[in-house]
Symmetry: C2
Subunit: 161 residues, 2 copies
């Protein structure tokens, strides 16, 4: 296997074509990583979450890291890592347009595939039941690597799994 | 979809049955997450890495987080998160047995599927070319969640993708 660094534009293309990955946050230097769905527009990643530890930690420390990967086999894969900053889109008047935009993006990208009927995203009234917290991650830096079979692996068919 | 908390024993069963996931580390409260292969024995996770940022950060701050997930569909998935502590298995006489053990485990679990011929794991002499750094993560805490289709989803076939 050869490991090649991906160009920034290749990383962005991979990110914009994805809607599922892992998001890491940290509190007091303890990292925490969870799977999440998202939509990318420009250099912003949009997502939503239920309240919980992840949100508490990102509110306390907005430094986050997003990872996506695509593994065809052990020697054919891509992995993109993006460093960014968490920004909440709170349920206030100032953020209504941003929240509606985020919601539309997430629907378009099939990221937000369910939506309890009782919740109106653009409203700051409905506090019963599931209340999604919308947020944006402003990506500051992307890096990516690609594993490709070495020429001798192609001829030897050394796929391990 | 219903989200159910998994029992600790279910989390361990999932971890011990996995050999691929994501590992998050942190430096100065900046998280960083990468995909990695591993083997689990007892409550220890074994893996190896090339030198680089991840290793530098884990040497500086041993607090890490491991995540595995298994996504059948958007409403059928499991996700297990383990908090642990990085411990390097250095290429010194004191650690030779541990290193050999780690190497055997990784081979058994098909985690270490390639091994450049020039490297002898049990030796602290061969410093040319690829030198894997072996490490262990002592898991302190596991949590897991499972998404299951709600009864009405089963009957309505609401899989989104």
């Amino acid at each position: 296997m050869l490991i090649q660094e991906m160009a920034a534009e290749e990383c962005w293309t991979a990110l914009r074509g994805a809607n599922f990955g892992r998001l890491a946050c940290a509190n007091d230097n303890q990292p925490y990583v969870i799977p999440f769905y998202f939509s990318v527009e420009g250099s912003d990643v949009y997502s939503f979450s239920l309240p919980g530890q992840k949100l508490d930690w990102m509110r306390g420390n907005p430094r986050v890291c997003l990872e996506i990967d695509h593994v065809l086999s052990r020697n054919e894969w891509t992995s993109v890592i993006a460093i960014g900053r968490y920004e909440e889109l709170p349920d206030t008047q100032d953020y209504q347009q941003e929240r509606i935009h985020a919601h539309e993006l997430l629907l378009q990208n099939h990221t937000m595939w369910w939506q309890p009927g009782a919740i109106t995203v653009a409203s700051n009234k409905g506090k019963q039941g599931f209340v999604p917290v919308f947020y944006r991650i402003q990506i500051a830096n992307v890096t990516g690597y690609r594993g490709v079979p070495a020429p001798e692996e192609n001829s030897r068919q050394t796929r391990a799994d």
